[in-house]
Each structure stands twice: as structure tokens, then as C-alpha cells.
């Protein structure tokens, strides 16, 4: 082909385009008005170059699906995918279908940071639903602040953090601890407590708050113990508990240690129907591994239980089982992960924009009435107002919800007098 031909070809092509363009002009003039009725123009709702087109918006899912944390994080991934699918079935967000890019944090904190950078810088996602452990959140936080991303974080955690770029859909420590302790003070007449936990920041901070609250009320902490993550032998501490005879064992043991702890507690002849045990680290997910018969009779303090009796939750459980199998169980964090995409959708629609700054600014006050746990609202400090509930573990791996706070608990990530 000679250079003349090329020029002619390109000339023709240009002319065709121009003609087409002119023919389309009247239609184009009408488009914005029509489109506004359904979906606003992309340029107006995305001024910062996020991955938003006229019909789609990209978001990220960042959890561990390999490595030791995949035990816990799998449920969150499943819940987030379910929420995204449901939102898309309802027409998406501002008329755009949500497309997700899933990355694997592989239970490795630097990998989380690297993948979040990839999601924000290369993929330019409008929001990320992800992280589970505090360590992974701490690793990605600087990345989200530097590149101005939006993270929806599902896990109950120790508090002492607040960021413009994060919405915390789980409970911070005081929301999970105080109401539960008040309940055992009152209902069980408990006066002495034995605190036991895995040795890292969340159990230690939580027990610190618990100890302050117990002592403030004039009661006694009989012992406080921490074990390395993955510890599997609890016979010595169980003897110590037998020796001190506390009214309540307050347990924040996590991961594989959990299974060993409850199995050995039962084997040592401590009957949880007589000995009060309260935990803030066992959800329906953990019960699968522990075995319901080994933990029946214990009290868990959470904001959500799969057995919650309300129409939202019934629909949620049914949809979850339909998507992920009839055997699947839903724990507290799984439900909190499910809230993420919904809260983001509501916030974007209120802000009328996908821009991160506008979403962050519009977040406080966002209400979600369709939450499986019941009504929730985002606080000024980017945490959720939510109720605290107490469940009694049953042998079939579910909880009986025996108490819930009358009011929503205010999130207080920097509790005065507890630090």
C-alpha cells in the first residue's frame, strides 16, 4: 500500500466519522437530558479519573483467599460478592453496573499494601472492600491515604483509629465489650473475671478496656493471660482458672488456638452450662471448627448472629445460602462485609458522585435500613452506630439471641478513661 492510499483511506475515514457525527448531532443534543433521568453523565460524577464508564464502575475486593487468614476472610469475600450482585440486579449505582476486581492479600501484610496500590493506581477503582486483620489494615492505610482511596473494612477491631479514607463497618472495641460486660454484671451477678486472649493488639487492647470497665464497677480481675497465636496447649491455664474460680471466663482467643482452647476446656471437665464464659472472638464461622458440642453454653457478644429474627436477615440468609450453598454459615464479620457495598452505594447516591472526597464527606449520617442486623447509621467518625447482642452458643453451631441493647451503641474509637 502506498502512502497516497493511506492518506486517502484516513481521509475517507475522517469524512465518514464527520458525517456520522453530524447525523448523530440531534440525538446527541437530546442525550444528556435523557441520560440524566436515568444515569448522570460520567464527566459530572467522576472528576478524578476513577474507573467509571457510562455503564460500569469498577471496585476492588481485597481479602486473603490463600494462607492462614483465608479461614476467616472467605466469608467476607462471599458476602461482598453477594451484595454487589444484588445491587447490580437493582440497577447498579448511579445507573452503573458494579464490576469487581478481586485481589488476594495471601495473609501477608506487605502483599495487602502492594495489591491495594495496584487497585488504586492501575485499576483506579472507586472503592475497595477488604482487609480483615488489623495488621493488614494498618499496612494498607498509608496507601489509601496517599492515593486517596476508599476502604470499607468489615472486622470488629480494637479502635484507636479513624481515617477519612476508611469506613469501619464492624464494631470498635467499646461497642463489643461494654454492653456485654454490663449484661453479665447484672444477669449473672458476676464479680470476678479471668481474662484470656491471644497475644496481639486486638485482644490486648480489648482486655484493657474490659479490665477498666470491670474495675470501674468495683469488681475484680482474677487473672489476665495471653498466649502466642497458634498456641495449642491450654491445660496449665485451665488449671489456673480452676484454682482461681472466677465467675466469668472472658475469652478473646483467635484462630486455630480457639479450637484447642474450647476442646481442652471441655475435656478438663469445665461445664460451660455452669461456668459462665463470655467471648468476643467466636462467631458461627469459628463454631464450625470448634464443634458446637464443645462450646454449647458459652455467651458470645456480637452485633449480628445468623439466627437473628427479622425480615431483612431472613432474606439475607436465604440469598447467601442460595449463592454459596445450603451448608454455609454467616458470622458477625461476614454480615459487616455485606454492609460495605450497600453503604457505599447509598453514599455515592447521596453525594451524586463517585469522587472519593465527596463520598467521604457524604458518609456521616448515611442510614441503611435493609441491613440484616437491623438499622445502622454511619457516625461522624466513620464507624457504625449499631446494637450489641448476646448469643448463647448451641450444639448445632448456631446462637440463641438472648439479649440486645435497646438503643444503638455509639461508636467511640478513642474511648476516654479506657486508655
Amino acid at each position: 500500500m502506498s502512502s497516497d492510499d493511506i492518506r486517502k483511506d484516513s481521509h475517507d475515514a475522517l469524512r465518514r466519522k464527520l458525517l456520522l457525527g453530524m447525523a448523530a448531532l440531534p440525538a446527541a443534543a437530546m442525550m444528556p437530558r435523557l441520560a440524566f433521568a436515568q444515569a448522570p453523565a460520567t464527566a459530572a460524577i467522576n472528576t478524578t479519573g476513577l474507573a467509571v464508564t457510562d455503564s460500569t464502575v469498577k471496585v476492588g475486593i481485597l481479602h486473603s483467599v490463600t494462607g492462614t487468614m483465608s479461614i476467616s476472610e472467605t466469608g467476607s469475600v462471599e458476602a461482598e460478592k453477594l451484595a454487589i450482585q444484588q445491587i447490580n440486579e437493582m440497577g447498579g449505582v448511579l445507573g452503573r453496573k458494579i464490576e469487581f476486581i478481586q485481589e488476594d492479600g495471601a495473609s501477608d501484610w506487605p502483599t495487602f499494601a502492594e495489591k491495594s496500590r495496584k487497585l488504586l493506581v492501575n485499576d483506579k477503582v472507586a472503592a475497595v472492600f477488604g482487609c480483615w486483620t488489623s495488621a493488614s489494615r494498618k499496612a494498607v492505610l498509608p496507601v489509601f491515604e496517599q492515593y486517596n482511596g476508599m476502604l470499607y473494612y468489615p472486622t470488629f477491631y480494637e479502635g484507636l483509629e479513624q481515617s477519612k479514607n476508611v469506613i469501619y463497618t464492624g464494631q470498635e472495641a467499646t461497642q463489643q465489650i461494654l454492653a456485654g460486660l454490663d449484661w453479665v454484671f447484672k444477669e449473672k451477678g458476676a464479680k470476678s473475671f479471668y481474662l484470656i486472649g491471644s497475644d496481639y493488639i486486638w485482644p490486648r487492647t480489648s482486655n484493657k478496656i474490659a479490665r477498666k470497665h470491670i474495675e470501674k464497677n468495683g469488681f475484680k480481675v482474677a487473672g489476665e493471660e495471653y498466649f502466642p497465636l497458634g498456641h495449642t496447649q491450654f491445660n496449665s491455664v485451665i488449671n489456673k482458672i480452676k484454682l482461681t474460680k472466677p465467675d466469668v471466663i472472658y475469652a478473646i482467643v483467635v484462630g486455630g488456638s480457639n479450637v484447642a482452647f474450647y476442646k481442652q476446656l471441655k475435656a478438663a471437665g469445665i461445664d460451660l452450662k455452669k461456668q459462665t464464659l463470655m467471648t468476643i472472638s467466636v462467631t458461627e464461622d469459628e463454631m464450625l471448627g470448634i464443634g458446637g458440642e464443645n462450646i454449647a453454653g458459652a455467651y458470645a457478644c456480637m452485633k449480628y448472629f445468623q439466627s437473628l429474627d427479622n425480615p431483612n436477615n431472613k432474606a439475607f440468609v436465604e440469598a447467601f445460602k442460595k449463592m454459596w450453598g445450603a451448608d454455609s454459615v454467616i458470622g458477625d464479620v461476614t454480615q459487616a462485609a455485606y454492609l460495605g457495598p450497600w453503604l457505599w452505594k447509598l453514599t455515592v447516591e447521596k453525594a451524586g458522585s463517585f469522587d472519593i472526597d465527596k463520598v467521604a464527606a457524604a458518609s456521616p449520617g448515611i442510614e441503611f435500613k435493609g441491613a440484616p442486623e437491623g438499622y445502622v447509621r454511619i457516625h461522624e467518625n466513620h464507624h457504625l452506630w449499631s446494637k450489641t447482642r448476646i448469643g448463647l452458643a448451641k450444639a448445632d453451631g448456631q446462637f440463641d439471641v438472648i439479649h440486645e441493647t435497646a438503643e444503638l451503641m455509639e461508636p467511640d474509637p478513642f474511648p476516654k478513661g479506657y486508655q
Binding site: V65, T66, G67, T68, S70, I71, E73, T74, D199, E224, E225, Y226, F227, P228, G230, H231, T232, Q233, N235, S236, V237, I238, N239, K240, K242, L243, T244, G255, G256, S257, N258, V259, A260, K263, Q264, K266, A267, A268, G269, D285, E286, L288, G289, I290, G291, G292, E293, N294
Partner: protein, 308 residues
């Protein structure tokens, strides 16, 4: 901390604490025996030891399901079948691994570390893909749960006693096989002088394969037994590997008696300190003591005299 307790109460607490130490000892021996055979007798550093244990645990899980569904009358005794199957499964996989991977690395013992570590990652992902990322709950027959009341105040966990009995049985069998049977003489001969053993007509390749299989099989039985006290998930094997190596190295790599003595020392130290100090501090002090002793005695507690 002992104010306001009667002498008999204290006595029973100390008795229970003694049992706790003995149970921990049994758990350590059971964990370490398989590794000690492989590491001590063959010089192979098997980083996938924990995964062979978890294979045994998953075999037990599958077994409990099948028996519970198809033959409920067998349920009280299924655990013994499960342990036997765990031995066969882990043992045959071990032999396969030896044949396909390890035998090429005998001259490069440090590379076995890398190869078996890779193997452990592969096995973890296979478990995850097969059984899911979540932990599975192994249902135990009722008679294995609960505790035995020796007196009014002394209660001993039944599954702990079971582990103790199992450890004694397996140790006795291993002793008989290695030190009383003809085959064991072959193993020891190969360990002491591979070339000479080959020259007098011992099939060294076969000995290697069966030794590796035996070590992995015992790991499988250990994993099966630990479903009573611990968790069963794709990465649960990692929980045991550090303690296991600690016991074997501290005991002196080539001596089975050393392994048992080291398990006893470490378990007693740890359970006593856990009782008087906090859990994490007990672990720190145990590790520091072991490091200190190994600095003075790099070859471990017991050394087998080998002509080099």
C-alpha cells in the same frame, strides 16, 4: 496466689498440673517422633511434616463423616480405624514423595529444606481446594470427651490419657522396629555408613523409602490424634512445626532417646512456667533456655557416636 486454699485443694491442683505436663509431653513426643526418624536417621529436613500430620487429621475427618452416615453403630470405635487409615495415607504419600523428590537430594541435605517447604505449600493449597479454607470440625465419640474424676477434686481429661497411651504404644513399636527387628538394623546400618551398608547387600534405596514412609505415617497418626485437642484446617500443620523442630534439635538429631528426653524437659518446663507466669512469657523463657543450652551443647542433649 495460694492464699485461702486448703492443703488438699492445692494437692489436687498440683496433681492435675502434673498430668497437664505429662499430656504435653506425650503430645510433643508424638509430634516429634516422625520427624526424628526422618531427620535423625536420614538427615532430611522435612518442612512438610506438619502437612503430613494434617493429612492424617483430614483422613479422620472424612472417616468420621462416612462412619457417621453409613455405619453409625461403628462410631464409638471409628477413631482406631481412622488412625490406621491416617497411617496408611500419610505413609504411602511419604513413600511417593521420597521416590519422586527426596531421593535426588540426599547429597544436598539443605536443599531438602527448600524442596519440602515447597511441598508443604502445595499440600496446604490442595487441602484448601479440597476441603475449603475454613476449619472443619471432627466429631469425636462421646467416650473420648469429658474428664475422668480420680477423686472429688482431681479431674483428668480423657483425651489426654488417650494421647498418652497412644504415644507409649507408638514409641514401643518404633523401638521394637528400629532396635529389635532385622529391618531396623538395616536402617541403622545405612545411617552409620551408607556405602558400606550397600556393599554388604542392604538395598539402601528401599530402606530409605520405607524409613521416610514410616516417619510420615507416624506424623499421620499424630495428626489424627490431635483432632481431639486442636484444630483441623489447611494451615493447622504450621502450628506444630516449630515445636516439633525444637524438640528434635534440642534432643540431639540422631537420637530417639534424646527426642524423648528433650520432649520431657521442654514440656515440663513450659507447663510449670505457664502455671506460674503468663503464657507468652513461659514460651519466651522456654525458648531462651533451649537457645542457651544449644549454645553450650550444639549437638543437642544426646549424641550418638558415629564414625565419620
Amino acid at each position: 496466689m495460694f492464699d485461702g486454699y486448703s492443703l488438699s485443694e492445692l494437692g489436687s491442683i498440683f496433681a492435675m498440673q502434673g498430668f497437664a505436663g505429662l499430656i504435653l509431653f506425650s503430645v510433643f513426643v508424638l509430634m516429634a517422633l516422625g520427624l526424628a526418624i526422618i531427620f535423625g536417621q536420614m538427615g532430611v529436613i522435612n518442612m512438610a511434616h506438619g502437612e503430613f500430620m494434617i493429612l492424617g487429621a483430614y483422613v479422620t475427618f472424612v472417616c468420621s463423616h462416612l462412619v457417621g452416615e453409613h455405619a453409625p453403630w461403628l462410631f464409638p470405635g471409628y477413631f482406631f480405624i481412622a488412625m490406621a487409615l491416617a497411617f496408611v495415607a500419610s505413609g504411602s504419600l511419604g513413600m511417593l514423595v521420597e521416590w519422586s523428590l527426596i531421593r535426588f537430594l540426599y547429597r544436598r541435605p539443605l536443599d531438602t529444606l527448600l524442596a519440602t517447604w515447597g511441598l508443604s505449600l502445595i499440600m496446604q493449597q490442595i487441602f484448601r481446594s479440597t476441603f475449603g479454607a475454613r476449619e472443619v470440625g471432627v466429631t469425636l465419640p462421646d467416650w473420648l470427651m469429658g474428664s475422668l474424676s480420680l477423686t472429688d477434686t482431681i479431674e483428668v481429661p480423657i483425651n489426654g490419657l488417650f494421647v498418652m497411651a497412644l504415644t507409649m504404644t507408638i514409641s514401643a513399636v518404633v523401638y521394637a522396629v528400629l532396635f529389635r527387628a532385622r529391618w531396623g538394623r538395616g536402617v541403622r546400618a545405612v545411617m552409620q555408613n551408607r556405602v558400606m551398608a550397600g556393599a554388604v547387600g542392604i538395598n539402601t534405596e528401599k530402606v530409605d523409602r520405607y524409613t521416610f514412609g514410616l516417619g510420615c505415617g507416624i506424623a499421620g497418626v499424630a495428626g489424627s490424634a490431635f483432632t481431639m485437642v486442636g484444630s483441623t484446617g489447611p494451615t493447622s500443620g504450621q502450628l506444630y512445626i516449630v515445636d516439633t523442630f525444637l524438640v528434635v534439635v534440642f534432643g540431639g538429631a540422631q537420637s530417639l532417646i534424646g527426642t524423648i528426653a528433650s520432649a520431657f524437659t521442654i514440656s515440663q518446663a513450659q507447663s510449670t512456667m505457664e502455671f506460674f507466669l503468663s503464657g507468652s512469657m513461659a514460651k519466651v523463657l522456654t525458648l531462651l533456655t533451649v537457645v542457651g543450652i544449644l549454645m553450650l551443647r550444639p549437638q543437642g542433649l544426646f549424641v550418638l557416636k558415629v564414625r565419620r
